[in-house]
Symmetry: C2
Subunit: 475 residues, 2 copies
């Protein structure tokens, strides 16, 4: 049960071990697929709730579109198709019939939704149209499965909007990216950087792609979410037109944006330690575990009675508390198990605590343990939950800064990338330099910050920099 | 926009028209699939919330299992496989590779989950195990698409549990069926009957299947949900074993149970009328629509100000209110549109109402309109929402009773079925009589009531009845 791998020395093995031992996932008989277990799915539900509230306030409504895409529809936007076709899974048989046309399992749903948007939209009064769906998507990746980060099926949300002007679409793209940053920092306690993708890295068929990028403890960047301005490209292919206020006709400006279950992997990587998961309290399936310590039936009764006095007010305040009164397991075993599972706060009560009329509180993030008088216990637990949430974000922010190096030469860039983290450098904006750097260092441009300043020279070719780019190896 | 078909005379056409005109669904380019639009998806989310609370209280936790099932796994339980294989869609290509083994898209997930349950369960201490998933399932039905009721892809929840005894599994099966009845009656206002399926109609691979059946206005039964005791059949095939308290080994007793997005169709059929949808208030996307009536800008301002005084307290109480202040649409147009969309209560305010310092309230279920003084308006709206919810259920209960006929001869049964509804009759419990009746009348046995009394003779063969059966044609 205790982890055999260390986060600092064996990051990749540690991650695989922790997600399985803590029962966040399990492997499936079908290669490249995984099971999202109960605790992980609970975190996903918290993410869903959080985003659904932001969506609703902006007038985005949830709906559901089919899994299947006719090959002919997927092919309509050529750049989009060629971007996705290497990873598409195809249904060719239904029951006993062989299908006349292969059906793609959606890798993303632009080509399912937009033919219907064309029916729904006729006037500027129908705009903006904003829908979102929570669903599974399929990308037949041939690389090794990495739980939560790379699987052939994963869950995500995809928001799709249509607007009457580029400016409106731009604003929607930014708004969605801001929701993701807020989600990432406020809920998941994972700090992340916003910016624009280069032409080479943008979404196939988009005008431009914006991205939210976090830095994992092994020095690799993780794309947390993306938000695309699709321009009028898809609208032209799928005939999404509207009558303007001046009675002219125009194509709609569209956006799409999404985050996926990979966020769960980001949380585990960012906050976990050698004992296991460390959940930020806001998403923890169990926020507080209460463990009675006893050596007789009577002592157990007394301990449980005492616990009840603090557990009930906590439950009443909506705190997710679990009282672990299991027989046949030692307190030490229970401590380890709940630490592995990432519970933020532990309440212990034994004879010593009872004698002093209080409880021992242990926090998962720092490991600190302290005794509190009974009348202070409930408020301290509540305060600790807030503190842990804030502390995890603050710690992760320090790491992010530490792992962001400004470099001026390609040697410095190589070294920075090798050591792990973002290398920030001037770039001439030529894709050939971008490609050459990728080839030589394994790092691509993760983002160009919004309002990036051009400073100094291109880190590769030495010509005048047109902008500043964040380079990193990535998941 | 107004419906051209009448519910009473043209039920099937009326249904197709209302679900599309009210924008609950749209057709997809892929045959047999449909789009679940925003209002319908909202209703699905209400169903999800309702069931999730019942599940959580029983210790059922949500998780997510892969869409893909290897053909070899699907084949393991022979009866299960032969039951589902005619409707399975197969993936044979992933990216550019042709797969070594075809992958089924889940028609249901027993064969995905139980190989993993075998890993998760080793001791009686691991039982009961209770998981649920909300997901899409695929059944390659060759019959015509019927929105919400018959589509090749649909959304559902499937609960799966493992227990240490048959009695525990029996109790879980019943508990799930009771949740569904509660959901159907309390939330959806659709009364429904519980009972057991015959051997011929049970879930492939189950020990027995229990069912919840409602009666649609056209006299056809609709299966609202099912709950199966799988016995140890799957456990034996997938090796789901546990060590008992006596240190012996036994196979787990398993259950599975589910409801799907077809429930949305049941609500539309049951409560809708010639003007459109009639949502029970508890699930209505918009519960109250407020329409200002005016002929000048000043009048509009005054009307909206007045509305604000009743809308704000309603919003404050959590009521979902929409103020329809759209320009360029007459009040009559708005009334029709919101009636089509099924909004339970309408608040109107025009000069006449303002002069009398009050509002006109119209209820969607009865069409009644009445004036209320301002100080009575908020409480009346709240009361109306409760009343409408209760009234819809009561009305549907009357219909259900009216459409349940006790018959003694095959001629009576034929007549009852022809006219539509449940025909209740004695049955010898011989599958040959069941089959013959189906052939001659198109009606199958929808359920055997729990604790059914054997009374009189078999309606078909005339031998002594062993039980009482509910016959009906069905969706």
């Amino acid at each position: 049960m205790p982890l055999t791998n260390k986060k600092a020395s064996n990051f990749s093995e540690w991650y695989l071990e922790v997600v399985q031992n803590a029962q966040l996932m399990d492997y499936s008989a079908v290669q490249g697929c995984m099971i999202i277990r109960e605790d992980a799915y609970y975190v996903w539900e918290r993410i869903q709730n959080y985003l659904n509230q932001l969506f609703a306030a902006d007038g985005v409504r949830n709906a559901y579109f089919p899994l299947f895409i006719a090959e002919s529809a997927l092919k309509k936007e050529a750049e989009h198709f060629s971007g996705f076709v290497p990873e598409v899974a195809w249904v060719t048989q239904g029951g006993n019939e062989t299908l006349g046309e292969r059906l793609a399992l959606r890798p993303t749903s632009e080509t399912v939704m937009y033919p219907v948007f064309a029916k729904w939209i006729s006037s500027h009064r129908d705009l903006p149209l904003k829908v979102n769906q929570w669903c599974n998507v399929i990308r037949w990746d041939t690389k090794t499965l990495k739980p939560f980060l790379r699987t052939r099926e994963f869950l995500w949300q995809e928001g799709h909007t249509a607007h009457s002007s580029k400016a409106d679409a731009d604003a929607q793209v930014k708004r969605a990216l801001d929701w993701y940053k807020q989600l990432s920092e406020e809920l998941l306690a994972v700090p992340a950087l916003q910016g624009v993708k280069t032409e080479a890295e943008k979404f196939p068929g988009a005008l431009y792609t914006t991205t939210l990028e976090a830095m994992m403890p092994d020095g690799k960047a993780l794309q947390m979410g993306t938000s695309h301005n699709l321009g009028q490209n898809f609208a032209k292919m799928f005939n999404v037109k509207f009558k303007t206020e001046n009675e002219t006709e125009d194509f709609a400006w569209q956006t799409s944006w999404g985050v996926s279950t990979r966020l769960i992997g980001a949380v585990v990587m960012t906050h976990g330690d050698d004992k296991g998961i460390v959940w930020p309290p806001k998403i923890a399936p169990v926020q507080v575990v209460a463990v009675p310590i006893y050596s007789s039936v009577d002592e157990k009764k007394t301990a449980l009675l005492a616990l009840k006095r603090v557990v009930e007010p906590l439950l009443h305040k909506g705190v997710r508390v679990f009282v672990d009164a299991r027989e046949g397991k030692t307190p030490g075993f229970k401590f380890n198990e709940w630490e592995l599972k990432g519970v933020p706060v532990r309440i212990e009560v034994g004879l010593k605590d009872l004698a002093k009329q209080g409880f021992t509180l242990a926090r998962r993030d720092t490991g600190e343990k302290e005794f509190y008088a009974e009348e202070k216990t409930v408020e301290t637990v509540l305060k600790l939950l807030d503190e842990i949430q804030a502390n995890l974000l603050a710690k992760a922010k320090v790491e992010l800064e530490k792992n962001t190096l400004h470099v001026e030469t390609i040697e410095q860039l190589k070294q920075a990338v090798e050591q792990g983290g973002f290398a920030v450098a001037g770039w001439c904006a030529d894709g050939r330099c971008e490609e050459a750097i990728k080839e030589e260092t394994g790092a691509d441009i993760r983002l160009i910050p919004f309002n990036a300043q051009a400073k100094g020279k291109c880190v590769y070719c030495g010509s005048t920099a047109k902008t500043t780019a964040y380079f990193a190896r990535a998941y």
